[in-house]
């Protein structure tokens, strides 16, 4: 058996639909922990509302947010997977079918940046990037629908031979600029190094890492801990109306580069949409999250 177009198409539709309806378990746990830690009534109540909203969406099979975002997929192909599929086209056709059949219907968010016209389709949509996984006999697909609320506050700067102080100051100032706007508490992803394009992707991938996981690089594990505390010291709080929880976690990825060092920061809002599954060569699907 091989992995087929129809299997890819169906799975990527499912991943998108699931992402709209369920806040990941690690994120709900982090929101509950944050509620315990808050002092102000407004912050506690706001976190309670978030947990109620997440539960109501799950119980009733409805969307958490009306902004279903634009479809973004990270496809990682195992080098031992057996597949015979036009993967990118299968994902595109899957999304075409999804917008015709999904219940309730989603709003038109795919925007032509040259004309402002909005619909369900557009150039290079869905956004799909590819990578390889050595020796794996499956294709691993992550879906991360990206919406405006948190999407618009991402930032990148290029430094030459920056110190950790320079890097951390940029991350903090990006959080200050986003302020109350990005539906906090957010998950922050930071990329350090590589090249311009690679750095942006690292920062995005960092947001997808499960909350509570420890960075394997000790320098970054320490940086994540102090940046998380620093951003929370700013006081914007849940929904930006004040409190001790502005971020549920700052995650940092790095890559070697030249002396010019890009630093990228991206945000996921509190609903932290992400789903992921593996599809094996025999067609079996394993939901990872």
């Amino acid at each position: 058996m091989t992995i087929s177009d129809s299997a890819i198409s169906q799975l990527t539709q499912d991943l998108y639909s699931w992402a709209l309806r369920k806040v990941p378990d690690d994120t709900k746990a982090a929101l509950e922990a944050a509620r315990e830690n808050e002092d102000s009534v407004t912050a506690k109540n706001t976190l309670t509302m978030m947990l109620h909203s997440a539960k109501a969406a799950e119980d009733n099979d409805r969307y958490v947010c009306s902004d279903s975002g634009v479809p973004v997929y990270f496809v990682r192909i195992g080098t031992k997977a057996v597949w015979n599929a036009d993967i990118k086209n299968a994902i595109r056709e899957g999304f075409d079918n999804l917008v015709k059949t999904i219940d309730p219907p989603i709003l038109k968010h795919v925007t032509n940046p040259l004309t402002g016209e909005r619909g369900y389709h557009g150039k290079d949509m869905p956004i799909v990037t590819f990578d390889l996984i050595s020796d794996a006999d499956y294709i691993d697909i992550t879906c991360s629908p990206k919406a405006l609320g948190s999407g618009r506050w991402a930032a990148m700067e290029l430094f030459t031979f920056p110190t950790l102080e320079t890097i951390e100051t940029f991350v903090l100032d990006t959080a200050i600029k986003a302020g109350s706007q990005h539906c906090p508490p957010v998950i922050m992803g930071v990329g350090i190094g590589g090249t311009f394009d690679y750095c942006a992707k690292m920062s995005k991938e960092a947001t997808l890492r499960p909350l509570g996981s420890i960075n394997e690089e000790p320098i970054l594990a320490a940086m994540e801990k102090r940046l998380t505390e620093a951003v929370n010291d700013l006081g914007f709080g849940p929904m930006g109306t004040g409190g001790k929880t502005t971020t549920l976690g700052v995650h940092v990825n790095y890559a070697s580069g030249h002396g010019f060092t890009p630093v990228a920061v991206s945000f996921n809002c509190w609903i932290n949409r992400r789903t992921r599954a593996r599809i094996y060569s025999d067609g079996r699907v394993e939901r990872v999250e």
């Binding site: 102000s40 009534v41 407004t42 109540n45 706001t46 309670t48 509302m49 978030m50 109620h52 909203s53 997440a54 109501a56 969406a57 009733n60 409805r62 969307y63 958490v64 947010c65 009306s66 902004d67 309730p104 219907p105 989603i106 709003l107 038109k108 909005r118 405006l148 609320g149 618009r152 950790l164 102080e165 951390e168 100051t169 903090l172 100032d173 200050i176 302020g179 109350s180 706007q181 990005h182 539906c183 320490a222 801990k225 102090r226 940046l227 505390e229 620093a230 010291d233 700013l234 006081g235 914007f236 709080g237 929904m239 930006g240 109306t241 004040g242 809002c269 509190w270 609903i271």
Partner: protein, 204 residues
């Protein structure tokens, strides 16, 4: 969240002035919702020409809420609604607030200082909705009163809804023009040096 008061719309100037920053409230009554920049442009165009809007927004509750509306058998249903970022409308809201004498505006993320001054001038407030609050907010919809400007895509339309216990909503700019957003941004800037010093100490 048991002691949250419920306010019936239209909001009187006295009630608006009684609302405290950070207070949470529920709303009953008629609200107006849109999430479109083109919608705001069209409102301004109507005001320029002195043409009556299809919806009476005078002293109304006007919120930055996107919604999915669909027509079935001649009647409109709104399947869900949720706030959008209000700061996108900073440049047009002062005039809309003043000319329509808006009693309450809202959405998420707040409005800027000029909008807060406009709210002070008319005695209006800004209410913060829960982003990602679709299931809770949509459950408060009792009746779709009107869907105007149906030529626009769903979330840009001007939608009039009858709601019951909409919220809780947080009072984030009060009728005196005090803004939680401005206060928090000022606080964060004031703390920046200390936070950077704490980071430096933690780096060792």
């Amino acid at each position: 969240m048991d002691d949250i008061r419920t306010i019936t719309l239209p909001m009187t100037p006295e009630v608006a002035r009684s609302l405290k920053l950070g207070e949470m409230i529920y709303l009953d009554g008629q609200i107006n919702a849109t999430a479109g920049i083109p919608t705001h442009a069209r409102i301004l165009d109507y005001l320029d020409r002195g043409e009556p809007l299809p919806v009476d927004l005078n002293r109304a509750a006007f919120f930055h809420l996107g919604s999915y509306s669909e027509e079935k058998d001649g009647e409109f249903d709104v399947l869900y609604m949720n706030p959008t970022t209000s700061t996108r409308f900073n440049s047009v809201m002062p005039r809309i607030i003043r000319e329509l004498d808006l009693a309450c505006v809202g959405g998420k993320g707040g409005l800027d200082a000029e909008c807060a001054r406009a709210l002070k001038d008319v005695g209006g407030v800004y209410l913060s909705f829960l982003g990602g609050g679709c299931p809770l907010l949509s459950a408060s919809i009792r009746h779709v009163v009107k869907v105007a400007w149906q030529d626009m895509i769903s979330h840009y339309r001007l939608v009039v809804l009858e709601v019951e216990r909409l919220g809780p909503l947080t009072v984030a700019i009060d009728a005196d023009g005090n803004s939680l957003y401005d206060n928090l941004a000022d606080d964060a800037q004031a703390r920046r040096a200390d936070v950077l010093a704490k980071l430096a100490a933690a780096r060792g």
